[in-house]
Symmetry: C2
């Protein structure tokens, strides 16, 4: 791969271009002529290929200079591949085994060759199918605590962290997508928005909701200014691949230095959306068990995150913040505990805010998710979405007053149970 | 000045080295042989010269590869001059006329040639002398509101701000000084600390004060992660030059992207220290009027800052945060007002925290200030410092519960009036 000018890969040219790269050729194995190449890109942004050979299989992901789904009318820089590569290597170091192994990276070609995960499927698809995965809460709780704690000034050397912050600060175009599509567009009639027509009245109500719109922008303010740690930046259930035993986090091209709470809030929001969408899939039988499972996953994910964050606080707090010289080294163990309580409280209130706006933007904005979209009956879909919208509004506006996930999940159940009346309201 | 290798200026070589630079030669005027050069460096870090010629006078500031006061045992990179230059140009653009005009910058030589300010003196010296300057509160209130608002996502284009954030993220060594000397060292027995011996008992009490030490680190956490705007980074009364009519802000080499509240808190802290130090200068007559003046300056500075910040919010809110499309454009003027109230509340509570720790570090840490240091009677000095320490502790720990500067200034007066009993306590 000697060319420096960017050239998009095709099924036809891919084997020839990758064969000279020994790390790839060895992994795939056998003669290049026998490699089976297929394109599987189902995401919005990039090209994705699977290459199968005599010995093994790899995934090849290539960024395009525009948004794949939209075309060259929406340009997007190739450097997002650079940020994805650097995020993957840092995540692997901080939470070993939770991201796909990287075999090769070519910056000029915006191309990453990765381990092929099999028989993994996308977590979102599993949840839509009603699969109860037992490992995912613990795996993602640990993944978030480890990557977010170890990438912050609680653990890292300050100079190294500042250099890394400067590196990722250049990921402006992808931050810009989040900043506009998540925090602003859903709350006014932005051109690219869309929503299920039955929601018109509720959407108008939310777009006139002063408290909500102030909170949404306060979350955006936090997102844009609280450069605490290297976040994944797009940690929804479509960025997770699972089997019953294994969990992998993929697609960190939105990575940047942001608030610890952002990944946590986005992930929980997607579980709550999965919860509210289950009514749409009961033609094949009750989803009561699935609903209970999803609420358990939410509680367990947060509990694991919190416990692991506290464990790292006690054992790996080697950064410049809350240094042991001020607390433990003076026998003041409760001082360190007090600081930890404050930090976890902040993560909690921020996380709920991010969860609220993430739910809204998936229903009101440009990028919807399959949980709701796959429900074909728009009236049924709207009733699910309406409950989720009201729930999201409650989280975002009342995040400082909410005490526990148990009480929040009770509220989710109440909103979900009242879906008939909610639907009626939305129709009025 | 063709040499690229760094070479420290001397009184003897300076004229010869600067003469070929037309911008400097024209400003100074006349034959190089007649230029009068003197060294005036009274700061801790750099060389400072004044060059006087037939037409005019300039200031030449050169960074050294180490801390001037300590010598080469404390290395400090030359690039701080680069950050000072870039901060000066941005401040001039955002708050015209409040910083010295830059005539020339040489990055390799870490050298800035600036307008000579005359008959300006350092604000701290004026306050020690008991001079009541009427213009400074308005000038600095406006300076802070304009530089801090216009350097944030409330005003700037997001991409430009992120690039600038990355540029200043490299100012790690000077941030490191603040991070350690301001927020951590004062609160344990760090090697470089010193304090007036009469304060031993109170210092021990503060270093065992759990709530204080947690708050100090929470302020450090904010300082290091809330990359809101380009702050001056060292805005104390020694970084301000004044006449009765004019106010200029100098020495922004600590500039970086931090919280809006940081400059405000640091400046007010230095006024409060000036207030508490006045007892040390009453041999020449009562300082009652000066004390009243200082408390007025504090109230006026904050009032001007707040009013100008609100004015810019209403007229220049062109950045990506709290966009008008969500509020004013929909006729929701109170929505924009609500968001502004929240932001000003946050700046207020953070500002008080930064003020509290700034007061502490000037009495407990390495870098003391002349307000207290010039008081030769250590018992008298300790009594002033003790009142200031208790005041700083109250601000930092109770910052969420404090309502107004009027009530805070009443507390300052009460602590200052009780200085005899405070002194006794400190002696016990």
């Amino acid at each position: 791969m000697k060319e420096t000018a960017f050239q998009a890969l095709t099924v036809e040219t891919l084997a020839e271009r990758l064969a000279p790269i020994s790390a790839v050729a060895e992994h795939v194995g056998g003669a290049q002529e026998n490699w089976k190449v297929r394109e599987v890109g189902d995401g919005n942004l990039n090209l994705v290929f699977i290459v199968e050979g005599a010995r093994g299989t790899v995934v090849v992901k290539q960024a395009l200079p525009y948004v794949r789904l939209v075309g060259d009318s929406w340009p997007l820089p190739l450097k997002r591949s650079f940020f994805e590569y650097h995020a993957l290597t840092r995540q692997e170091k901080r939470a070993p085994g939770r991201v796909p192994a990287v075999l090769y990276f070519d910056e000029a070609q915006a191309l990453i060759v990765m381990e092929y995960l099999s028989p993994h499927i996308i977590l979102r698809q599993a949840l839509i199918k009603g699969q109860e995965l037992r490992q995912v809460a613990e795996d993602l709780g640990l993944f978030m605590a480890r990557t977010l704690f170890r990438g912050s000034d609680l653990h890292m050397e300050a100079r190294e962290r500042k250099a890394d912050l400067a590196l990722f600060a250049d990921n402006t175009e992808l931050c810009d997508i989040t900043e506009n599509l998540v925090f602003t567009d859903p709350y006014f009639e932005a051109p690219m928005n869309r929503h299920t027509p039955e929601l018109d009245a509720l959407v108008a109500e939310l777009r006139a909701d002063r408290d909500l719109k102030v909170e949404a922008q306060r979350m955006k303010h936090l997102f844009a200014s609280k450069a605490e740690t290297l976040v994944h930046g797009d940690l929804h259930t479509g960025s997770v691949m699972v089997t019953k035993e294994d969990t992998r986090v993929i697609d960190p091209e939105f990575a940047f230095y942001g608030p610890i709470s952002f990944d946590v809030g986005m992930l929980l929001a997607n579980y709550w959306m999965a919860f509210f969408s289950q009514r749409g899939y009961e033609a094949g039988g009750s989803r009561d068990a699935m609903r209970a499972y999803l609420l358990e996953v939410i509680e367990e994910t947060w509990a694991v995150f919190r416990a692991e964050f506290a464990r790292l606080w006690h054992t790996e707090r080697s950064g410049m913040l809350y240094h042991r010289s001020l607390y433990e080294d003076q026998g003041d163990y409760l001082g360190a505990e007090q600081a930890l309580n404050h930090i976890l409280r902040d993560i909690w209130t921020e996380m709920l805010g991010f969860a609220g706006v993430e739910i809204h933007r998936r229903i009101l904005g440009l990028a919807h998710n399959a949980d709701f979209e796959t429900i074909e009956d728009t009236e049924l879909r709207a009733s699910c979405e309406a409950a989720a919208l009201k729930f999201g509004r409650h989280l975002a506006v009342n995040r400082h007053a909410l005490q526990s996930l148990r009480e929040i999940n009770h509220l989710a159940q109440a909103l979900d149970n009242g879906f008939v009346s909610v639907r009626k309201e939305a129709e009025e």
